[in-house]
């Protein structure tokens, strides 16, 4: 890219330099000022209709909307001048006159931009009291979306998303004047694979999620940066948790991956995170059953088993476990000599979001298949299962073991199961070590474009379950092959030192947005 021309201007007394063509509302962010707004969204075409972002620009006769005014050299902008505040107070009053003020039963309450800006800049009292408010009944738009027209402020974000990003004009503005509402054609459903984004985009509680309906108050939620586990796209997400339960997944902006969006399938990928049938303690095989034990005993016992095993080593890994665990499992059992395999669900056809390049619900429905491949795991899963029958040691890494007959893996040697839940085929394991799931640990995934992205712990793991990287690190330490890891970062940094593909990366440098692998494709790794 050629060097961009910079424009200097002053916003609320702060001088900023931004690329030519930048809109005032974006430039203001650089000056540390959020100009109140509703219809503007950086992921959508500018509409300029809510008129909330009116600001005063010196030497311009009228107030300007910051969302549609490009910067100009020497511009002096006042966001908080009396005139600008008065105009925005006016907009807020107009937006509220027909608003039901039903915040106590509104899911948006606490994360509502109407609440926020009215609190910040609005009038203390209504001047509309004498008139009845406009009423329209709640409408089920289909998909996961309910429309509460009484709360709607006609910002048209949802319509613009469907028109210009989903490119499936399922929503419209119907009627005009104060009769206008968001409409959908009779018999049609808001069933686009990415339609759920309209709920996030809605700045008020007008478009709401049926799945999240009345589940929690926004202020009770803890928010954690994570990565979607639904497919190999690796959309950045936020996990919202309440009382150690994930209640909602929402997109987290990342211009390199998913911009501001995620698909509806991905939004549903949190229920399994709350499974109740979890393994809560290390289990050691005894008398045809298992005996629960503590970690010290379990680690020592497992290390002894590993030390005593001879012959071939097989790792059957889930493509949903962390890169760190995938790396450490191989390292534990002997590095390149290990047969590593995984299997991943493929669903025919992708569901792209047309308005964003290279963004789709991918057919490969796991978050870390690319990471597995890069670390030498293959999809020759059935062959690996057959090999496991004669192997000296078999390690299953949260593999579901679905379709694998009971006993198939515990024939020849030592079978160790690291997992979140205990499938029937793992009942023959010599030792079962409980691990945390994605929501319960820190770690990284590598997406299909070889972008390494961190996810963060959002809730506590049940019982004694620990992150797989912790368990594997403890085993390595017990075997005298290193120090235990105190963090996923330590495990990742070892990976970056040891694996050429990851060279130059550090856990800290990945930040919350991740980084691409820069190394060339090694021989034998397909794409």
């Amino acid at each position: 890219m050629s060097e961009q021309e910079l424009v200097s201007l002053t916003i609320e007394g702060v001088e900023v330099s931004v690329p030519k063509g930048t809109l005032l509302i974006e430039a203001a962010k650089q000056a540390g000022v959020v100009v109140p707004h509703y219809c503007y969204h950086p992921g959508l075409p500018v509409a300029g209709v809510c008129r909330m972002c009116l600001v005063e620009v010196e030497r311009m006769p009228k107030l300007q909307i910051a969302c549609a005014t490009p910067v100009a050299p020497g511009m002096v902008v006042h966001v908080m001048s009396p005139q600008a505040l008065e105009a925005r107070k006016g907009v807020l009053e107009f937006l509220l006159i027909n608003h039901p003020l039903d915040c106590p039963i509104c899911d948006q309450a606490g994360e509502c931009e109407l609440q926020d800006y009215v609190f910040q800049e609005g009038r203390a009292r209504t001047r509309y009291a004498a008139f009845p408010k406009r009423f329209n009944p709640v409408e089920d738009f289909g998909g996961d979306v309910l429309y509460v027209p009484n709360r709607c402020i006609l910002c048209t974000r949802c319509v613009r998303f469907m028109d210009h990003v989903a490119e499936d004009s399922t929503l419209n503005v119907s009627e005009r004047g104060d009769r206008a509402v968001i409409g959908i054609h009779p018999g049609r459903q808001l069933d686009h694979a990415w339609a759920g984004n309209v709920v996030d985009l809605c700045p008020v509680g007008s478009l709401i999620s049926k799945d999240f309906l009345h589940k929690a108050r926004a202020w009770e939620l803890d928010r954690t940066a994570s990565v979607c586990t639904g497919c190999s796209q690796g959309c950045n997400v936020t996990l919202d948790t309440r009382l150690n339960t994930v209640v909602r997944v929402r997109p987290r902006p990342n211009s390199e991956v998913n911009r501001y969006f995620m698909c509806d399938y991905g939004r549903g990928q949190y229920r399994w995170m709350n499974r109740g049938d979890r393994i809560e303690a290390p289990l050691i095989a005894a008398d045809g059953g298992f005996t629960a034990t503590d970690w010290d005993h379990a680690i020592a016992h497992t290390a002894r088993l590993i030390r005593g095993a001879s012959g071939r080593a097989v790792v059957l890994a889930s493509p949903g476990v962390s890169t760190e665990a995938l790396f450490l499992a191989r390292r534990l059992l002997g590095g390149s000599a290990v047969t590593g395999a995984f299997r991943v669900a493929h669903v025919a056809g992708e569901a792209p979001l047309p308005g964003v390049p290279n963004l789709a619900l991918r057919s490969e429905r796991a978050p870390n298949a690319t990471g597995a491949r890069l670390l030498g795991y293959t999809e020759a899963f059935d062959a690996a299962v057959r090999a496991a029958g004669e192997a000296g040691i078999v390690l299953a890494l949260d593999e579901s073991l679905e379709g694998i007959p009971e006993g198939a893996l515990n024939g020849a040697g030592v079978f160790v199961y690291l997992g979140t839940v205990l499938p029937a085929a793992a009942r023959g394991a010599r030792v079962v070590l409980p691990v945390a799931n994605t929501a319960e640990e820190d770690g990284t995934f590598v997406n299909r474009d070889r972008r390494v992205q961190r996810y963060f712990q959002a809730k506590a793991a049940p019982g004694m379950a620990r992150p797989a990287w912790w368990v594997l690190g403890a085993l390595l330490a017990e075997l005298g092959r290193g120090e235990p890891f105190l963090s996923a970062g330590a495990a990742f940094d070892l990976l970056a030192r040891e694996e050429a593909l990851f060279a130059g990366l550090s856990y800290a440098s990945l930040g919350t947005r991740g980084a691409g692998l820069t190394a060339v494709t090694p021989a034998g790794v397909g794409t």
């Binding site: 008129r51 907009v91 107009f94 008139f131 006609l154 005009r176 004047g177 009769r179």
Partner: protein
Amino acid sequence: MGYPHRPHPRETVVLSQHFGEAEARSYQGWVKRGGYVALRKALGMSPAEIIEIVKESGLRGRGGAGFPTGLKWSFMPKEKTKPHYLCCNADESEPGTFKDREIMRWTPHALIEGCAIAQYAIQADITYIYIRGEFTEALATVQHALDEAYREGILGPNAMGTGKRLDMYIHRGAGAYICGEETALMNSIEGRRGNPRIKPPFPAAAGVFGMPTTINNVETLAAVPHIINRGAAWYRSLSLANPKSTGTKLFSVCGHVRRPGNYEVTMGFPLRDLLYDLCGGMRDGRTLKACIPGGSSVPILNREESESCLLDYEGCAEKGTMLGSGGVIVFDDSADMVYQIMRLARFYAHESCAQCTQCREGTAWVTKILQRILAGEGQMKDLDLLLDLSEQMTGKTICVLSDSCAAPVVSGIRKFRHEFEAYITGARRAAGAA
């Protein structure tokens, strides 16, 4: 001609000369009256020459804004790299205005000729004449004239035998005042809701279909052939008061005058003379109370202001109002200003496109407050509230519809406050109220 009345000697009859003559509607009849001479002359000139003449004539937009027409044309790219369009704004919907309708009904070829000259001057491939859906007669008349013009080789691939291509189509509106706003009109042509667009980009850069576009009002375009025929100096000489306002203007007069109708006078003509001489004064010996000189969107004048107002852009501005579209609405002393202002606000509430918050909610709210006052349930503080809301509705939205709603409310309260107060105190009750 003060159509539908006999012409008044004080009129300057240019555009309206053939109003009422059925024969003038036909191609033959129009040619007999000197039609298409200007177009032939124009097609022999360069586009730049035509634009220069129009600039020199001082012609300004007759739709309401009064922007210099030649200057507007000169904004079109000189080097044509993509299609250019001309839009003729025949969506005449401003309450009080009914002049374009008469131009289209009586002299459709004048409009076509004006469009053709403008189209050639701005190097447009196509002219879309956007006629409001309710104007069934104008729609039929202009369509018939277009068919004739194609048949006679005025339009089409070889316009007047010059080898130049001129295409012109009617686009019928479907009931939306706001489509008279130029960018809303373009959206409507494109098959969209008639929502005004944010400017910039201006139409000359990205107009209809995103291409360079000029949009002119019917009356503006109909004046162009006369300017080409008789010269810029002649047109410029038609000015009674301010040299920046030139030519003739059709004033549509309605309401409480004895002879409502269209009157064509030279710019700068006194409003007083228009009302008392040409229109015959108030009906039934009543007296003038108020007048809106430029269509419902401009501030109301009281009697004194009306009687001293000169009808040109500057003369109206001096009285704190605007020439607008030249729709003169006259209220005599029997008029209920509160009711009529409510009726205007209701109009704007009905016509708001729903995009901008202040307009969508404000026009409806203002209407409700006025209705409450009329119902005898108003309070004095409602007047301050109306003024405050009007302030919030002025200069803050994409287009001026909400400003237009506020203008009569503000000027009405300022100039006829006692009528509002009479309803609030109970001294007056609405007609029909028990």
